[in-house]
Amino acid sequence: MIEHDVVCPFCGCLCDDLELVCEGGKIVKVQNGCALAESTFMNDVRLPSPIRRTESGWEDISYTEAIKETAEILQGADRPLLYGWSSTHGEAQSIGVHIAELIGAVIDNTSTVCHGPSILAIQEVGHPGCTLGQVKNRADVIIYWGCNPIEAHPRHMSRYTTYATGFFVPDAQRERTVIVVDTRRTDTAGIADEFVQIEHSGDYAVLSALRAIVRGKASVIPAKVAGVSKEQLIRIAEICKTAKFGAIFFGLGLTMSRGKYKNIRNAIELTDELNRHTKFVISPLRGHGNVYGSNEVFTWMTGYPFAVDFARGIAFYNPGETTAVDILRRGECDAALIVASDPGANFPRAAAAHLAKIPTVVIDPHVNATTALSRIHIPCTAAGIDAAGTAYRMDGVPIRLKKVIDRGYPDDAEILKKIYDRLNGGKEL
């Protein structure tokens, strides 16, 4: 059987044109997808059943037992942390938020170690963006800044930018100018018409300089800024100002390096300045499949995209204080529920280590590094493979993930709902 127009849940591109060949309840072939899509669908090894860590090692337990114990752990906690949510659908995320408000937890999603700083910047200056189709159909200048789509979003360039045929850009490769800005000469840099190699942590200064040049203040700028020559900066500014439609895509090179959100704020303000000359947009290359969806769901339910603290009953938000890494680093939380993510592998050691000191429950289809740090791991469906649900693409377009096969696991939304009902004294959500 061939499933058409399947959505890949791996990265924020959410490519929806995959063809999957399924035989006997298994996916045997993936067409149109990148290497990441192929491994997502083909090498899907799951934890068979819920497990619990005991003095003598790991033991299998039933779902009922696992859910009961999870509820007890959360019920008794003074500062529970609910973290993750990026690799699942909106339906599960929404129940997660309800659990958090019910028990006075902190709920945070993986944007905290991804594009959280982009959100902080947007909260200062806004976000001039668009859907990816606008870029595909119109953009003649593309800038990849501090990102490496060839590795992290392999089809971004063929679907939306460099190689994509657009309505106003019929001959994409000839008509689009691609600029790559990075500290590293990546493979993406290799295909650029113009590569700007910046010294480590020099992005902010370079962005400031570009803003000044676009404003006609080039005279102030020194001959070299963070390793980039003034001539190149002036050339880049000119390319941007004379574009018909320019698009900046940025990645973790801006969010994770020194200055964090200030880098992104500066890039947004450059975009703003360029809009006084032509049309320019900017967009983060959002990572994990539905991380943007977790921001959307959190926002309409709580008002904040991530790092929401319900300890006082109301929703409070202050990244740096209510973010998962900070709460773990300070050893604040006394219980943790990790859903659809792997902080064990992705958080600095000191933060991850705290998970092993407190009762931690993982709800995730796969064994991951956090499994080792947990007390209980409950396997569930993987959204987009054996569960349907809503995901938001990196540009905010909502797409329905499909259930392609059935592997007999319960949906994480269903597990979470049972946990909620127990916490709520048996009353249904």
Binding site: E124, R211, R215, V220, G259, R312, Y317, E332
Partner: protein
């Protein structure tokens, strides 16, 4: 009147306590106040040994003294308008939020967001202050708007972000981006600083130590003597990236 609050030993000492109730005015009516430990409501007496000396008829005569481990106690002095608070050790985040009058003295170190969105009064921190000292809240256009924050030691990053009024005086060094987005007020850093005043709109900043990674978008106007510091400084205008009209003086 003097109110002495000595923190009790807690089963989970890492849990944050939120104690915006600890302002001098509230002790006029007694010590029956509510604080929060994690997601639980507690009485003040569950968290502190409370000693009251003398009486007061008006809040400006009330002094609150915090002793013991107070490093996890947040929001002490929030919305304080008069009287004084002395913290003998370290203090948690958001000390002196929205403060409009009175004085807070911290003998140890202060955690992040010291004096956030402050309007008036004085905060003196004898140790170091962490990140976002004397700043604002996410998304808000104005940070600290009045009063004075003085730190004897160093501060972390983003000190005086969005400063709009009042004085911030750091005797030691500041981290990355002090005075970023500044739009008013005065920032003095006696020690070193990295990338000061990024994107500043207005206000003035004086740095007497070494500046690391000076931003390329500040225009040097002149060199002059700063009489109050008896030093010669390079005077910059900026941030040019932002049509800014701020002043940044860096010791020559």
């Amino acid at each position: 009147m003097r109110v002495i609050l000595e923190s009790k030993v807690r089963a989970k000492p890492n849990l944050p306590i939120e104690a915006e109730a600890i302002i001098p005015r509230n002790f006029l009516k007694g010590t029956d106040l509510i604080v929060y430990e994690g997601n639980k409501e507690r009485t003040l007496s569950e968290m502190f040994w409370i000693f009251v000396e003398g009486t007061a008829v008006s809040p400006e005569n009330i002094e609150v003294i915090l002793k013991g481990d107070t490093s996890r106690i947040k929001r002490v002095g929030e919305y304080m308008d008069t009287g004084s608070i002395v913290i003998e050790g370290d203090i948690g985040m958001h000390c002196g939020n929205f403060m409009s009058g009175g004085t807070i003295e911290i003998r140890g170190n202060a955690d992040s967001w010291l004096g956030r969105e402050m309007r008036g009064g004085t905060i003196l921190c004898r140790g170091n202050a962490s990140h976002y000292c004397a700043t604002g809240y996410r998304g808000e256009k104005k940070g600290m708007q009045g009063g004075k924050v003085e730190v004897s030691g160093n501060t972390g990053d983003f000190c005086a972000e969005y400063l709009a009024g009042g004085t911030v005086h750091i005797h030691g060094s500041a981290g990355d981006f002090p005075g970023v987005e500044m739009r008013g007020g005065e920032l003095i850093i006696e020690g070193d600083a990295t990338r000061p005043c990024g994107n500043m709109k207005s206000g003035s900043c004086v740095i007497l130590g070494t500046v690391h990674d000076m931003l390329p978008t500040f225009e040097k106007i002149e060199q002059r003597v700063l009489p109050e510091w008896k030093v010669t400084a390079d005077v910059y205008k900026g941030d040019v990236a932002n049509r800014g009209k701020g002043t940044l003086c860096v010791r020559s």
